[in-house]
Symmetry: C3
Subunit: 196 residues, 3 copies
């Protein structure tokens, strides 16, 4: 599940980098940081050495994703690829996968309910946020439609299920389904949050 | 004292978010991150799991602050609220409270004198800096008047008192008073640092 | 070697801050954060309390560098100092020194090959990247010529040498020479990476 998220976010990050006319290294850096950023932030917040630095598998998957992203960009769907379903779908899968690993890690670390929700959210949106900062675009999580909300709802769902005694594995499946379902529905229906 | 800072910074952050026309979630995210950002950075720098993730109280206070900020914005003082005393005063209190907790945590962790000053400063200005980055405004700590300086002086004061044997509790009170006094005087007199 | 990097990066950071018309504190903050940012990020990634906060020597060196930078700016070479050899040379030395300490720390922490390369790169370019974010310029590591690449190659070289049994001290010397040589050649020849 983590691998799906890594692959999806690396594709999204590298497509955005190609759109922004970065050089070859910039594309790799943005793709890899979008893929690994959420997980590294998650591990730092619970004081673990980031998994991405201890193993080689995570970065390998991210690099494959970058290759895929560059191939997609070359295959040449014109215009802003990041609004197309070829990007939105894997991005939603990545959000769902990462929000769930965040909730799992938070529960293992005995964080508070808010800690579980926050770690799910940070893990899900952290990579994209780092990409936003590097590309100097307004972080989409702040101004855009229904993006972080599914991760927040998923984290809260996971925590509720864990409290009433549902095993972590099953809670994780439900959490992932909730995030993915909410995000895809939000895309299809164009859901937006109201301004206060 | 920590609670006062959390509340004040959440009000400031959410007011800024409303001014920037963020949606409902963006207002909550900016308010909560402005409130918790300094403390989370502080805890990460001394390798502790952030208090904000282990307890529920911190985020609860921050959410109350966001509610207050939105209510203030709706009550509708026109124009840029962030320059008005309704914001500047709680902001100064938050700076003072957070700089002091930073100095306390740094002393407990046996950091060097510079470590004490830096942790006081980072805890005090970190939340606002994160808000600046997210809203893509020039970080006020870099270009503006006398904002980080009170935190730096407060941290140095705390360390000096601790070295000459003053108990931590008393040093903390002096540190908080120094930061608050300096910041309020700077606002009233329009103090600025010279350019080199 | 670490001291050389600290000094060089503090000079570069404070020159950039003077160019950007920051006030006195802003110059100190940007100089110190450019100098310490890479190392602090490195230590956080391996879960160590940052050396810069435990000792006083690092910040002292950084402050000397800031003083030097301000003196250079006052001595008044006109125009954009950051493109001149008085900046590019120490900057290349700093990149080389920091990339090498990053590789050493990563090897001590038993990170994966990717972890070694990433820590070398982050330590080398992290301080400059933080400066870029604070000054709101497009991170040079993303759009510019051959800057992060030498650090990446150096980290990979270090890891390869360590694997075949070369002692760390000797591998460090080779790593530093590779980074410095590549970076200086890139500057002289105007090397650029292709866009994909």
């Amino acid at each position: 599940m983590n691998a799906v998220g890594l692959l999806a976010f690396a594709v999204v990050g590298s497509l955005r980098a190609v759109d922004a006319d970065l050089d070859a290294l910039g594309v790799v850096v943005l793709g890899v940081m979008t893929a690994l950023g959420g997980g590294v932030t998650r591990d730092l917040l619970v004081n673990a050495t980031p998994a991405a630095l201890r193993t080689t598998s995570d970065v390998t998957v991210a690099l494959v994703g970058v290759g895929l992203g560059v191939a997609l960009a070359r295959a040449g769907a014109p215009g802003d690829l990041t609004d197309r379903s070829v990007v939105l779908l894997p991005d939603a899968v990545g959000l769902s996968a990462f929000a769930t690993t965040g909730a799992l890690v938070a529960t293992d670390a005995n964080l508070s309910p808010f800690g579980v929700v926050l770690l799910a959210t940070v893990t899900g949106v952290g990579g994209g946020l780092i990409g936003d900062l590097l590309l100097r675009t307004v972080p989409s999580v702040l101004v855009e439609d229904f993006y972080a909300t599914p991760a927040i709802v998923g984290g809260a769902t996971f925590w509720t299920l864990a409290v009433v005694g549902v095993p972590d594995q099953r809670a994780a499946v439900v959490c992932a389904a909730v995030v993915l379902g909410l995000r895809l529905t939000a895309i299809r229906r164009g859901w937006e949050l109201p301004s206060p």
